[in-house]
Amino acid sequence: MSSMAKITHPRQQINGEILPQPCPHLAEFLSNNGSKPFRALQDCLRVKPPGGRASIRRDPKEVPRCGACGESARPRLYACITCAAVHCHVPSGPSHAAAHAFSMPPGHEIAVDVDRAELFCCACRDQVYDRDFDAAVVLAQTAASTLASSATSAVQQYAPENLRKRRRIDYKPWIPNLREQYLVGKNSSPLNGDVSDLPWGLRGLNNLGNTCFMNSVLQALLHTPPLRNYFLSDRHNRYFCQKKSNADNAAKKIAANTIDGGGNKSAARVCLACDMDATFSAVFSGERTPYSPAKFLYSWWQYAANLASYEQQDAHEFFISMLDGIHEKVDKDRRKPESQGNGDCCVAHRVFSGILRSDVMCMACGFTSTTYDPCVDISLDLEPNQGGSAKTGSTKSSHSCNGEADCMNSSQNCGVSTLMGCLDRFTRPERLGSDQKFFCQQCQVRQESLKQMSIRKLPLVSCFHIKRFEHSSVRKMSRKVDRYLQFPFSLDMAPYLSSSILRSRFGNRILPFDGDEHLCSDFELFAVVTHTGKLDAGHYVTYLRLSNQWYKCDDAWITLVNENIVRAAQGYMMFYVQKMLFYKASEKPGPA
């Protein structure tokens, strides 16, 4: 795939903040006056709620006019920061603002757009930017829409309290010392790989009777890099886990003074992580004949009793249930609830769990209420029908105009649904209907509100689930949506981060942010689970990318495919992994 170099802007980064180089006039102004003049402007910043734009007015009812020609209707009027004189400006035309800058002694080059609160250099005839000025504007904007007590900390509110900041450390690969080398050598035997160059871990899975829903998800998980590394590094040793649990059970029985009838099968405890471990061992053993994940199915059916049936299984449901199972078992053992958002609770969450942020803004006063929720995947609606008949099942919030707006946004490929288009809609401000009025703490009544989702913390592995199932309660029918969805092989999640969404809500002002996020927002596709066929009589297949080759995993059949097949496939679940992993210092000493 061709690599596109991003256009580099002449800007510097300070602690992750993006800052353009100031023009010489601005630089001069700042060194002479500091940022006092900007903060002094604060009294003149007027913000129209809710979430409104800032403008500069000395007096709320003031109508600014050009000091030279009296014009008040020109598209741009600028007020000199130094002497507050207002002048008009026409780009490539007569500019009284520029004339003012040149006619006055040096120091009057910097002005501010009275209607847009943007700094302007009259000498360079260009908009310029300053961090402190933006901070002042943001403060004015938040003061207009938050409770008085929390005005100052409004912007800092983006970080949930339970997200502890851990310092970043450099990656140091593990190299076994002599003793470890000896232990490993003594207690293991090398696998005989086959002569071919085919990647390890590539092995078909037998269909045990309509179990392709399970096989497809297992194939994706077996090749999810952090998960694979976890299990192959023996982080969940099934023999250990079994022995420990038997000992625990025995201890419990002794304590309860019960007499064991002798190996009651139903009391055998279920540990999906152990079964996962066994599956990894089998699949990475070098053996190439298809593997039957029978024990896994047995364990999973014991865990998910309500889903234990021969028919009607959904791959996504299985995925969620499985992660659930791994988590619950671990959680029960630990006996203390770990925050899922951190992913400290179990490997399933460490790999898949991210944090979603939900902002609900009162449309009357602008007060915004924010909540955070962990999530292990993102379920996305396909766009409502474009062009065709307008009758779609369901979603309350889709107005007919939205479809057209999407069409215009995705410039050329109008009519093709895309994953990024779905994510755009997922993070778009959505007007909650009048039947869903939200109680506003500031207004103290229920008001119509605007809701917007964003991603506070990206998981290591992002799983996107496409809701291809349409249910019409009116017609008591369900149908599958076969529409093609384009998904990229390389995905930048930056536009969907809370920092980006929040920033754009404030007119893209420079905000102080935790600089790390934009470094980890690049993802690459490594597995695609596809569904073909009808709603209740279909087939799941997984495409895996290993060593830059795509393989099709169709139950027992592993075949090589061209990437075009994958691009053109009907994606149901797409798995992306972060391109770069950063390591943070662990709080526990020794092996984590």
């Binding site: 800007r11 009777g209 059916w301 998910a304 990229p488 980006s500």
Partner: protein, 181 residues
């Protein structure tokens, strides 16, 4: 914007001029709004990498064309002869192993239906129990497991695709599985 000077009536022509003047100013103002916003986004490096996104769209469109072309080797739909290891597999998996529930030897491809009966789960097994208690059990357990860790409030776990054998029409449980509370 020029408006042809129509009537002899002075007031109507100056009204027309005035309104077009106002419209012109509004339009200019909107254009400057957009320009100012785009300028800020570009200068602060906040713009999306449109080249990459468009390249991906182009590659996908190209891929779909190539795949749809019948003259290309129909990799997606052709029957498999051998897999990458040179193996061939029957349509029903033939490996035989012991059921971990009852100990019998079962053929892999028929393991799931066997296990279903063996464990006392599934449709046919459930029918033996009184309907009401099972229905309540199914409803409750489904309610518990549904989307504990699934995303955000708007979503409901209705979106499920099944791959089972075609369900028996009119069966309470198969319909129950499709509809969502």
């Amino acid at each position: 914007m020029s408006v042809p000077n129509e009537g002899n009536d002075m007031s109507s022509s100056s009204d027309a001029q005035l309104s077009s003047h106002v419209f012109g100013d509004l339009l200019d103002s909107i254009i400057v709004d957009v320009a100012s916003e785009c300028h800020r986004i570009a200068k602060l490096g906040l713009d999306r990498n449109f080249e990459e996104e468009e390249e991906e769209l182009r590659l996908s469109a190209q891929a779909r064309v190539r795949v749809a072309d019948p003259s290309n080797s129909g990799e997606a739909n052709s029957k498999y002869v051998v897999d990458i290891f040179g193996q061939n597999h029957p349509s029903v998996a033939s490996e035989v192993f012991e059921c971990m529930n009852c100990g019998r030897s079962i053929v892999a491809g028929r393991f799931a239906p066997h296990l279903e009966k063996c464990m006392g789960k599934g449709r046919k097994a459930r029918l033996k129990v009184t309907r009401s208690s099972t229905a309540a059990q199914t409803r409750n357990s489904r309610g518990n497991s549904a989307s504990t860790y699934s995303t955000y409030s708007n979503s409901n776990s209705t979106s499920r695709l099944s791959n089972g054998a075609s369900g028996v029409a009119g069966e309470e449980y198969s319909n129950g599985a499709l509809e969502e509370p």
